[in-house]
Symmetry: C2
């Protein structure tokens, strides 16, 4: 490897989408770990749990009852952080500045089956989840006061998820939030200069280098970004620019479902555990403007570092200085791509 | 309260030091918590632990032996993330950009006594810790290739701390890291416009408002910043601008020690547990330039939200959008300032 010196020494890498740097310190993994061990997630759940507020037909905390849904199902979050109506107020008291914010929060159940997760769902079932995401992105995005729609999943108790029923969330809101704004800025600057998607050009370079690619199909790529922060961070993106998931045709939707399944299977196989992560889809704002510069992508931020019970802590230095990682993106990619593509629970032994 | 509408509704607040917004959603605490519970930290440790690599006279992982120190003691981290010598290399392959980084990582033992923590140390002992921080900040900062010195403490297993022996860390480095740079930019912009410290003016407004002040002494203030991200986030700062801890005179050092003790006692008393946090001191870069715009401050980022075992998760929405908090800064300040100022372990009952 012609950059061996760099990869053996501490260095910074630039996230071209947020324009922020991550510190990479490859030799740090040699340090012994005597710190916190997470408890392992509970083993295989039942397909139906009478006490689960997301299972079909069950009562939720709000008192509402879920329909007997048999496809992906969405509803307004009973404890929405953002509400459609707020007293609009600006509070500009010199150095204390506030502004009100409105929005809609929804829950998306991926399946009626309480025991499933994305890696063990069928591809056709994942396609239906994507279809519901598309519908929500379009409908919410069309509302007059919704300029940004964030679709995400917190998976696993250590990611703050309080219910193992397969589900994700959508927070749709009036403002464009910080992380999205950073990406808007970088995508737009490159587009204005080159009339091309920065992500499309980057993906092309990645495919040529073939050092960080995890999976590739007709329409999508999964890779460990050059600037990955989380140990086994992965980004899934269409190889050719699509501004949002609403542009996916049937064959692209299939490719997207396939690659989501592949990545989450590799994750589960890494430590033979139901792999925790937060995943989010960044895509064009829904502010009514055209966004030719946008290139949607789904990022997975998984906390585990050494094993199913030892995670990476983003604390101290990371909070006051900048993110820092202990293995290189190339090491993570090497490990992930060598794993079997069949889920470990489906092994004959 | 004249801003009741705002405080009852979701809103954004601006962090004037980083120029980033935090989403405040006060009604979210009504949501029941069925998610992860942390395990409680082990009860009171021994004053000496033969297996601890930080206790005086013990062997460390590297094979070195600690001296029989009886005052705060610092040494170079055996598993430093940053090293003084690196092959200097820029890797500017178009959209994959990297640059090497050098530095020095140190460990600072606060006390020879394995069982102590800042809140139960004597004020004179905390003053000695501050003196050692001053010495390190000056000595490291004077090195030719060190332009930034970050002093921080990760406290508690849930903050990634692997050893309960009272200690903090110092990561000194060539580059000025992201979070520090953001603050440099805001402090400088305000200084250029007003010839005043933005933090000094803000603190004056906070003292007048008296809604978020936790503690005040002759020289220092402790408050929940208007833009706090973590539930019980606190900032300690000198009321009058000091660019770095090296400018502290003896009486200011005493005030700093006193207020550190007060804040950490309130923390421990909140849930009657040894309160976990990451604390960091942001101060003037050591790049050889004058930094009249700087105003040093120590921030505490504690993860606990509802109890000693239920923390706030910065996941999903927070990772892909922006930080979000569930209680207002005013609620947090109210709670903290009403707590007893004597450590709960020293109660007669
Ligand atoms: O250096 P330590 O205490 O072993 O490690 C801890 O602090 C570091 C600096 O904040 C973090 O990067 C690590 O993730 C954390 O576990
Ligand atoms: O909405 P939930 O699943 O109850 O809550 C979870 O996701 C939210 C959005 O990422 C976070 O703000 C919470 O801290 C987390 O516990």
């Amino acid at each position: 490897n012609k950059y061996m010196d760099l990869y053996d020494n501490s260095h910074y890498r630039l996230n071209i989408l947020t324009n922020e740097w991550v510190l990479v310190t490859p030799h740090r993994t040699k340090r012994p770990w005597q710190g916190k061990k997470e408890s392992l997630p509970a083993t295989q759940a039942e397909t139906y749990d009478p006490s689960c507020y997301l299972c079909p037909g069950n009562k939720r905390a709000s008192g509402d009852t879920n329909p007997n849904y048999n496809e992906p199902y969405s509803f307004v979050n009973d404890f929405s952080a953002l509400l459609p109506e707020v007293a609009t107020e600006e509070h500009q008291n010199n150095l204390m500045q506030a502004k009100s914010e409105s929005g809609i929060c929804k829950v998306v159940c991926f399946s009626p089956d309480h025991s499933l997760t994305l890696p063990v769902m069928r591809i056709t079932e994942i396609e239906k989840v994507i279809s519901l995401w598309q519908k929500e992105y379009k409908e919410l995005g069309n509302l007059p006061d919704i300029n940004h729609v964030l679709i995400f999943e917190n998976k696993g108790a250590i990611m703050g998820c309080s219910n193992p029923h397969p589900h994700g969330q959508i927070w749709a809101q009036k403002s464009i939030p910080t992380e999205a704004l950073k990406k808007c800025t970088s995508l737009e600057a490159y587009w204005n200069q080159h009339q091309r998607s920065i992500l499309e050009d980057y993906i092309q370079q990645e495919i040529e280098a073939n050092e960080r690619i995890i999976s590739l199909n007709n329409n999508f790529v999964a890779l460990v970004p050059y600037w990955a922060v989380w140990p086994y961070e992965v980004m899934i993106a269409p190889i050719k620019k699509l501004t949002s998931i609403s542009e996916l045709d049937e064959s692209q939707k299939r490719s997207f479902a396939e690659i989501i399944k592949t990545v989450t299977i590799l994750y589960d196989n890494l430590f033979e555990t139901s792999f925790p992560y937060s995943a989010g889809i960044n895509q064009a704002p829904t502010d009514g403007k055209d966004h030719p510069e946008w290139h949607f992508h789904m990022s997975f931020y998984p906390p585990l570092l050494r094993s199913a019970t030892v995670k990476k802590f983003m604390v101290g230095y990371e909070m006051f200085a900048n993110p820092q990682r202990d293995i290189t993106a190339e090491q993570a990619a090497d490990t992930l791509k060598q794993l079997p593509t069949t889920h470990y629970s489906q092994n004959p032994n």
